[in-house]
Amino acid sequence: MATPLTPVITEFWDRPDLYTLDGYRAVGGYTALDKALKMDPDAIIGQVKDSGLRGRGGAGFPTGMKWGFVPQGDGKPHYLVVNADESEPGACKDIPIMMANPHALVEGVIIASYAIRANHAFIYIRGEVPNAIRKVAFAVRQAKEAGLIGKNILGSGFDLDVVVHSGAGAYICGEETALLDSLEGYRGQPRLKPPFPAVAGLYASPTVINNVETIANVPYIVDRGVEWFRQFGTEKSPGFKVFAVSGHVKRPGIYEAPLGITMRELLDYAGGMRDGSNVKFWIPGGSSVPMLTPEHLDLPLTYEAMAEAGTMLGTGTPMLFDQTTSVVKAVTRWLEFYKHESCGKCTPCREGTYWITGVLEKFEHGHGTEGEMETLVNLCGQIAGRSFCALGDAAATPYPAALKYFRDEFEAATHTSADEQFDPVASYVFAGAGAR
């Protein structure tokens, strides 16, 4: 039997007033907060640990463990920072969550702050999405007006201020320490670790940085319990996931399902590939994870199964491309992105993305050479594992995977341009260039 969809965070998105406090409360919102504030903060950390919730930002780090790293009774202020810098190519689930159900995030922020004893929380939202920013700001203001944020929340003695912060266009700020530097008003370049943010993060104080979807899970775990949560997903990947399916599919969109659902099942829900088309390659969760092929469609979308297949679940936002797609062009475009977004701090990423992009652009125009195909592999190897942060690793990811599955296309690109190999118009989702 096919894995069913499990709308939790998305359950009431069809309510036009869900983004308001009243709308959210009408569907049971903020009952988890009531519960949480009556609990011992450590018990909440314990509950999140027991739930097995893993970070939904891409790395999949156990959330409860992260919270547990924060030293308690250290006399320093603690901070919660929500990473809402969703900028990874292919990732498009946090912004929808914030636009549709901002109070789930806000409620999660209050509970998480209470658990880690933070009196100050920041929601760092990438600047290019004003509509998500205003929705969250609106929700925060309503929560403040209702006494859910502020002094002595619901008589618990717990104080919390929440600040909605706009970024300004830098993918690197999704890297948590770069985000902290950015939030402190600096260039968003990653920091040396150690010290880790849990010990010395924002303003050199203990800080937890969580993804939007991760935090939005928290109220449901607190409200409905660990057992309820763990009935979804697998032992190592418990719970559900807001999957965002995009590409040459019939019904791209948001599909919330248990972890462990297969790509084929998700694709089914999305109506399959567009007419007359089939999957050429797909990427489970953002351009930073290696691509897969149709043979991987039946693998469960879990952290462990994806790792076993040599890729990662990443953000859990699969992009599917059909046979009209030029892999050479796709990879070149991604590398142009990494080159554009490389922060410049470390040599391998700064110079490596510059070089690789230049070579790939030659391939795109049909001017690559056989030797350069190997040079590129070598260059990716000179970045991966040697750059300062994961952006470099990510930049070194698309090409080797693409070469592994589509070597012939790169060989062809030594004499034939990508556009000659694949008519770009065929890949458009509207009717040809004549859609004008």
Binding site: P4, S87, P130, F138, A170, R187, Y203, F337, P424, R436
Partner: protein, 212 residues
């Protein structure tokens, strides 16, 4: 043009949100840009003054983030996602159509100052590809012709709505929102069929996240 005293007051207000004033620099620069349509030396100096840091420190930040512009943006900022997914699914064609329709190029404004074009990176709306933004508000699922139509409507002064967001204002208004996000426009419809795709099926088929 220069940064007015009331804008400086607003900058101080933003700085007051944070335990450490310098945290306010990004929103402050958005505010400066909302007043001057670009980041000017004056805007940089105003931020430096308010925060008690050097203009070089502000410049370092202002030049790091792509949303801060060093030339006048003009009335509307038009972004077209040309990252892999949007680009290949048609964003490239949308881009071509818009450059032709406006006469502007990447990170440059049209001669009449109405439209500033930018090839933008992934806008976190891949489900709605190809994506265009007008003053950073979503214009989802565009085609070359629908994108050009938006431009023409704006040119004619007609009211244009974001597909998931409020009525289009102008670039400076959006930049102001980024500094003061609770802008009173949260009521605009922001959930569409694609965001409800899974929920719709679940409802049709009686699936639920309550219990399996």
């Amino acid at each position: 043009m220069s940064i007015s005293e009331s804008t400086r007051d607003q900058m101080r207000e933003i700085a007051g949100r944070y335990p450490s004033a310098r945290s306010a620099l990004l929103p402050m620069l958005h505010l400066a840009q909302s007043e001057e349509d670009e980041i000017t030396t004056d805007g940089i100096n105003a931020c430096a003054d308010v925060l008690g840091i050097t203009p070089a420190e502000v410049t370092a930040v202002a030049t790091f983030y792509t949303m801060y512009k060093r030339t006048k943006v003009g009335k509307h900022h038009i972004g077209v996602c040309t990252n892999t997914l949007c680009g290949l699914l048609g964003g490239d064609a949308v881009w071509d159509a818009l450059t032709e329709a406006t006469g502007a190029g990447h990170n440059t404004a049209s001669a009449d100052g109405e439209f500033f074009l930018e090839r933008i990176e992934c806008q976190a709306a891949c489900t709605h590809a190809p994506v265009m933004t007008v003053d950073w508000e979503y214009m989802d699922d565009v085609t070359p012709s629908s994108a050009v139509e938006v431009i023409e409507q704006l040119r004619r002064g007609e009211e244009v709505h974001s597909t998931r967001g409020p009525v289009i204002r102008d670039f400076e208004a959006t930049e102001h929102t980024l500094a003061f996000p609770d802008d009173g426009l949260a009521d605009a419809p922001s959930v569409d069929a694609k965001m409800l795709a899974g929920l719709t099926i679940a409802k049709e088929r009686g699936m639920s996240g309550r219990d399996i």
